[in-house]
Symmetry: C2
Subunit: 433 residues, 2 copies
């Protein structure tokens, strides 16, 4: 854990080092992934059964056995404990409401020249959703990735999840059922991405693939990009907590640890105007690390990437936060909205002393798939926009063409594109423009 104070010499260099910190270690798996993709393209279904036996240690009888039946999916919700079922339903309902409110309006305007122009939103036909298996099989991620697609109007949502040794987390299947996933396949790794991108006979290809995965999955998404759309490749998660001394230190400590427990590469940063409060939080972190089940991971993250930054005032905190452009931002001060108004770059903000990030991870409504590693400067969290696309359109009659056509002819000629110019000029009645 690093301790920085804005007033001290060397602060700028230390803060810049924090910004430049590379928390991600990328394994180079390009060639292995290219081989798997080529095999899936060449052999289709047969490749999937073989690769599943090799990587997931169970052998499907045939390609049909890779698909979980619609009945199994529908039954999944009823098969889990009532409390978990209720919580998943609460989460699904709230996420759906928030994403439905995002749906954009079409545009249709006619201007003084008589030219009618517009923009029409439409859903992608088919989306593939990758869900990691094993430890990191999070039902909340299924809801967060699938519900925006369903709300956008995507008709076909094909989910792939590896089932190592044949085992599948029933909560993941229940989340898929609640989120309206239309197909679930027991396929993992690069072969799942290849199957979704190119199709295999049994599994029809999709148009866009979303969802987190390991290095093989991420590289496979990179390699099929262009053939299909992909979401951005998520890096390790991070939180910045802005908190004054009026907070309970143990609350803030647990917020920092909630981030740290994800991953050794996660990053938790406290920015406070009170060094004493900062010290109290550090002490509470140490206390909590004694009993947390995932203390080993959380401690590794906190020691390597954690930081406490003591600022002279909140304006300094805002400036530093904008440079960090954090994935998650908690604002726990007296007038949190004033600070939020001044923050330009953050993936998601949690406003007030009673609003820990974990609320947003599960049930608040906004998406928990968010831009990491300072990319909130230019990127956004997952939303219905990821599953919609726009078609712009122009409608012109002879009068409208006469009004704006000559300018098009002039510019086409200036660019040396004569067929462009002629396509307009011929319609204006100029045979030899």
């Amino acid at each position: 854990m690093k301790w920085l104070e804005t007033g001290q010499p060397g602060f700028e260099a230390a803060f810049q080092a924090l910004l430049d910190e590379a928390r991600e270690t990328t394994t180079r798996v390009d060639a292995a992934v290219a081989g798997i993709i080529a095999q899936v393209r060449a052999e289709g279904d047969a490749a999937l059964t073989g690769l599943t036996a090799r990587f997931d240690r169970w052998t499907p009888a045939d390609a049909a056995a890779l698909r979980i039946t619609p009945t199994e999916i529908a039954d999944a919700v009823g098969a889990i404990p009532a409390a978990q079922r209720g919580a998943l339903e609460t989460a699904a309902r709230r996420i759906e409401v928030f994403h439905r409110a995002q749906l954009p309006q079409d545009l249709d305007m006619t201007d003084a020249d008589g030219v009618r122009t517009g923009l029409r939103w439409g859903a992608i036909d088919a989306v593939g959703l990758y869900v990691p298996g094993g430890k990191a099989a999070y039902p909340s991620s299924v809801l967060m990735n699938a519900l925006p697609a369903r709300v956008a109007g995507v008709q076909r949502i094909a989910m792939c999840v590896p089932t190592p040794d044949g085992v599948l987390n029933p909560l993941v299947l229940a989340a898929a059922a609640l989120a309206g996933v239309t197909e679930v396949w027991r396929i993992g790794g690069a072969q799942a991405i290849a199957a979704l991108a190119f199709g295999t006979g049994s599994l029809r290809p999709v148009d866009r693939i979303v969802g987190p995965g390991n290095a093989f999955v991420a590289e496979a998404k990179r390699q099929v990009f262009g053939r299909v759309g992909i979401d951005s490749i998520a890096g390790p998660s991070e939180v910045v907590v802005l908190a004054d001394a009026a907070n309970e230190a143990r609350h803030v400590a647990m917020d920092l640890l909630a981030q740290a427990e994800h991953d050794e590469a996660a990053q938790s940063i406290l920015i406070t105007d009170s060094a004493a409060f900062g010290q109290a939080v550090v002490a509470e972190v140490e206390m909590a690390l004694r009993h947390l089940p995932r203390a080993a991971i959380a401690r590794a993250s906190w020691v390597a990437h954690g930081a406490v930054v003591v600022v002279g005032d909140w304006a300094e905190a805002v400036a530093l936060t904008n440079r960090l452009a954090p994935e998650h931002l908690q604002i726990m001060v007296d007038a949190p909205r004033d600070l939020f108004a001044a923050i330009r770059h953050a993936g998601a903000a949690f406003i007030g002393r009673h609003c820990p990030e974990a609320l947003g991870d599960y049930v608040a409504g906004p998406n928990h798939v968010l831009p990491t590693g300072r990319t909130a400067r230019f990127a956004s969290g997952l939303s219905v926009f990821d599953f919609l696309k726009r078609t712009t359109w122009v409608e012109a009659d002879a009068a409208a063409l006469a009004a704006i056509g000559p300018a098009a002819v002039t510019l086409a000629r200036a660019e040396g594109l004569d067929a462009h110019a002629m396509s307009v000029a011929l319609r204006l009645g100029n045979k030899h423009p």
Copy 2:
């Protein structure tokens, strides 16, 4: 040019071949580009002067000489012929109006549980715009890339354009002035992308880079992706024209050639319900190729990639168009809106017999940077959304937390993330949840 008829044996195979046609030849320049990026990162300004001398054959006195002064930019509009100036101003005004109408609304909602959630749009701070030099220096592309950024509220738009042998197209500079570009640099190739992504001392880094370029520029954008945002890598351009026999064949022929004259890899497809009309269009294409200045390019495109598809009815045409998901779509039939309503996938549509694509390339208002190579299935044209990002937010008080917190605790426990659960439970008053 291929001639296909839906009723004939072998149609499906021939159409599928058209869909699978790879028109793009990618040059592998990974290593060369990685070297240039490393040099720019290591040497900053000094690398730029050296690389410019090497690739663009002129030697800047120093890094400051790479920048075109604000006065030069401002003066550029006055220095071009009045007709071109007027046409550029018309285009800029119309593009600005259309993109301003796209600006989305923020979201702010409070639900029955007392949880307030929202979504806030904000502009990216700084955008880099790459503009190719030489033949392909198109002022219209400057307008189409820079104006959406300015409308979105981007404060800093840094444009890089190579000036081979020191030469710069004055129209490109005029377009930059009209579009509100704030900096123009005489830098090209992979070194420009590296400079924009990492900064060089003189040139400060940006957050996102857009604009077309050659294989080196495209590969450099791939390599800096993550550090900054990038737009999609455009492939060769294409048009599908739906036209019945009531059209003038020479209009349609010129529309097809306007696409073909861009690039040998461009593709022009006519879909018609009249074989006789298709034959008339083919004859008019041959006629026009005798006198078009760019006939060599247009002919190469038409011969290799052009196609006429004769359909039995317009429902067939719609189905085929959706499979093609074309970048540009002209709809020249009696009730064009009926067909447009049934088209799910197209980058931009041009509706009616008086609405050639060239209108949209220059002055109609919608963007001419569009998804190519069937990616309109999942991707969209450039828009203000490319220069905005979203911050979602949640605000909860103690009562709101009490309403939805327990569900979060349940899900966090189910996922084995105890610090997540504790961060909520502690605030609910459960010391040992």
